[in-house]
């Protein structure tokens, strides 16, 4: 039987417009992860580190992994920066999982960080589009708001998706974020406020978009056979999958489905040997509200075009049949690009250990985390279960 990886510790900074530098954010998240290990841990036991970051605004574009080594006090161990845009940490996590599953390592540090709010607005706008297709999409004047606006328009045309369903995603995720002390936007909003907010990239409005956030998250992975050295309640990584697709929307087979997500989900479920019906809650990549609908359809929790009704039914709320983004999602918790994939895994860790506080999903035993790079050029799906 394949050796599985387990999460034995996790840390998470507050997300938002923060004063801390990227180094300080990384250190805070890693220290919190170290502190969360029930039986303690010596950093020098960590065999390898993976850092997810885009390097937003040009901060340490090359060799950023060395910063992780320094702040985590593991200098000497191999460290690698993993960059897949918004899925950077999802793929950093995947690298850590593969290193453990292969038997090459027993203990791995995975972290993600992004510092986005300290750049001037113009530089920020420059960087918000760097992960889209630079040669064609961007030349037409698009950043990701525009690209997801295109996808939303096509989805509405194809399935008659109502704007109320998009608004419901925002309302729900804001309500969840209110219960998450780490969240960026801790403010309840109404459907009417969403629908009256200014247009950003038609049909997407301001409240359909995730904020620009700073933050970091860190995870400690161990082989399941050695996990007991660190904790009696590890969270198992039941299966991990990933996929890719064309960079530009114009080159995809479909503009309303993410092939990378579907492939990643199929691989994760197959490797984990669990069914979709086993999943108690989902952390999905909702950089824009339309993205949560696309995710539910591509992950196989709704038929194509069916996610809108699922959202409007209330089934995805906390307390609903299968909550989606109990931590507030990218939409309200915040989306520090390179940290998001690690943040989602953090949520799975605390939820499956029953320590999520007010936002706890009762009786949760299996969780799914879904991280997307850009508009779907890459995606990871990771399934977690109680150990």
């Amino acid at each position: 039987m394949r050796r599985r990886a387990a999460v034995v510790g996790a840390g998470h900074t507050r997300f938002g417009a923060l004063n801390e530098s990227p180094r300080e954010l990384l250190r805070a998240a890693v220290d919190q992860a170290y502190g969360s290990v029930d039986k303690g841990l010596t950093p020098l036991d960590i065999g390898e580190g993976f850092l997810g970051t885009l390097g937003f605004s040009g901060w340490q574009l090359g060799n950023a992994s060395a910063v992780l080594a320094e702040e985590a006090r593991i200098t000497g161990a191999p460290v690698t920066r993993v960059e897949n845009a918004c899925a950077s940490a999802g793929f950093a996590l995947r690298s850590g999982i593969l290193a453990i599953e292969s038997g090459a390592r027993d203990l791995i540090l995975v972290a993600g960080v992004e510092k986005m709010t300290d750049a001037p607005s113009r530089r920020r706008r420059y960087w918000l589009g760097v992960s889209g297709d630079t040669e064609w999409e961007r030349m037409a004047g698009l950043t990701f708001a525009g690209v997801y606006g295109l996808m939303a328009s096509a989805h509405m045309r194809e399935h008659g998706t109502p704007v109320e369903a998009l608004a419901e995603v925002a309302v729900k995720n804001h309500a969840n974020a209110l219960k998450n002390p780490n969240a960026h936007l801790r403010k309840a909003i109404s459907r009417e406020e969403v629908l009256a907010s200014p247009l950003v990239a038609d049909p997407l409005r301001l409240f359909d978009c995730c904020p620009v956030s700073d933050g970091a998250a860190a995870l400690l992975l161990a082989g399941e056979d050695v996990a007991h050295r660190f904790t009696d309640t590890p969270v198992l990584i039941a299966g991990a999958g990933a996929g890719s697709d064309a960079l530009a929307l114009q080159d995809r087979r479909s503009m309303t489905r993410l092939a990378a997500t579907r492939r990643a989900a199929d691989e994760a479920f197959q490797r984990a040997g669990v069914e979709r019906s086993d999943v108690d809650f989902l952390e999905v990549h909702d950089c824009f509200t339309i993205a949560e609908l696309l995710a539910l359809e591509d992950l196989g929790f709704a038929a194509p075009g069916g996610a809108a009704a699922l959202e409007l039914s209330g089934a995805t709320r906390l307390g609903g049949e299968r909550p989606v983004n109990p931590d507030g999602g990218l939409k309200a918790k915040g989306h520090p690009i390179g940290a998001t994939g690690a943040s989602q895994a953090y949520e799975a860790f605390v939820q499956l250990r029953g320590s999520a506080g007010d936002r706890q999903v009762r009786g949760a035993e299996t969780a799914l985390a879904h991280n997307v790079g850009g508009s779907g050029a890459s995606a990871t799906v990771t399934l977690f279960s109680v150990g």
Binding site: Y126, E135, G146, A154, L199, A201, D202, P203, L249
Partner: protein
């Protein structure tokens, strides 16, 4: 031996201000001239057009690539020159008995004598010169008579006058006074591009000087499209040239070094896609604040813009910004035409590419 004007074409700018035609914010001599030349029948009246002398405020580097913009990569393109020099060049060509081809001359209509030079380029005309008897104008959009025709005739007569005079005098004629053409508010293109080790070194113009275009912020910040990479796809960017694999029949855009379907690279052929009647499959209106920073000038001056994904071929979609129509006016299912427009300035050079305009109604249909 006499030579004739055998074809001409005129493209009107899409904008108008107080009744005076002005180019749109994304139009200039380059885009209007390319559009005008595009309308010429090639070859002109049976004669191969071998040389194009673009006239107007062209970026010299792009003038050198005009052949690509015209879909005729091999054609000899001479960079823009002031009118007297251009006239002299044209005269020498007219006089040269060994010259077998013709020449196409692109110029703003403000050039002909006597006409006041408007503050902006108002239109561009392409003329095809070739051997043949008499002086004749032909072309679907350029009237043979009337004011326009007369002005062109004046120009030709004057050029011939120069030619005769030069034959009479041994010295080159001094440039006629007052004929330097000031266009586009006097903006001068002064970039130079010199090959260095097989690559091009780009020097920004000393005075990239007009209005807000001079914004020093418009420099790269680490992630952008370098000039040579941009030009590598110019036939795709400017003419929607796609590739077809002769081995498996796959069509793809933009051009890649090997077929994405079968992987072969030895039977790729250029296939220019139709730029008319592309069906829109997705739309969005990008509001100020959601634009990439290269488009800050545009968003700041004209506000929101629409972007569409449109189908150019059963297997090819393209992403185009809408121009010449109010944002939000094009819907999924509508048809658009792709036109060459300038996009944004970066590091002292304009980037050009295709934009979408609402499709011209098809002939034979009624509104």
């Amino acid at each position: 031996m006499s030579r004739s004007i055998v074809a001409g074409s005129r493209v009107e700018p899409s904008g108008e201000l107080g009744g005076v035609p002005v180019p749109g914010p994304d139009e200039d001599a380059f885009t209007l001239s390319v559009a005008a030349i595009d309308r010429l029948p090639w070859p002109v009246a049976g004669f191969p057009v071998r040389q194009v002398q673009p006239f107007g405020p062209f970026p010299p580097a792009l003038a050198g690539d005009l052949g690509e913009a015209l879909g005729r990569p091999g054609i000899d393109v001479r960079p823009a020159r002031p009118l007297p020099e251009l006239g002299a060049g044209l005269i020498s060509l007219l006089d040269d008995p060994t010259e077998e081809g013709g020449v196409a001359l692109v110029l703003p209509t403000s050039v002909p004598q006597g006409a006041p030079v408007p503050p902006r380029i108002s239109e561009a005309i392409a003329l095809g010169f070739a051997r043949g008897p008499g002086v004749r104008l032909r072309g679907s959009s350029l009237p043979a008579g009337g004011a326009d025709g007369a002005r062109i005739d004046d120009l030709v007569q004057e050029l011939r006058g120069h030619s005769s005079a030069r034959r009479a005098a041994s010295d080159p004629r001094p440039a006629p006074a007052g004929r330097d053409v000031e266009v586009d508010g006097g903006m001068a293109w002064s970039e130079t591009r010199t090959p260095v080790g097989g690559r091009f070194q780009w020097e920004s113009p000393a005075a990239y000087s007009q209005g807000s275009s001079a914004d020093p912020w418009l420099v790269s910040e680490g992630a952008y499209l370098p000039w040579p990479t941009y030009l590598a796809h110019r036939s795709g960017r400017w003419r929607l040239a796609a590739a077809e694999c002769g081995a498996c029949g796959a069509r793809f855009f933009p051009w890649r070094g090997s077929c994405p379907n079968c992987g072969r690279s030895d039977r790729l052929e250029r296939r220019e896609l139709s730029r008319s009647g592309l069906e829109v499959e997705a739309t969005t209106v990008v509001h100020p604040g959601a634009q990439p920073s290269e488009f800050d000038l545009q968003a700041g001056s004209s506000g929101s813009y629409e972007v569409v994904v449109a189908r150019a071929d059963p297997h090819i979609r393209v992403t185009l910004q809408l121009t010449g129509a109010s944002p939000g006016s094009v819907r999924i299912g509508d048809r658009v035409d792709a036109v060459l427009r300038r996009l944004f300035p970066l590091e002292g050079a304009w980037r050009y590419g295709l934009k979408a305009i609402p499709a011209a109604p098809m002939a034979g249909t009624t509104a």
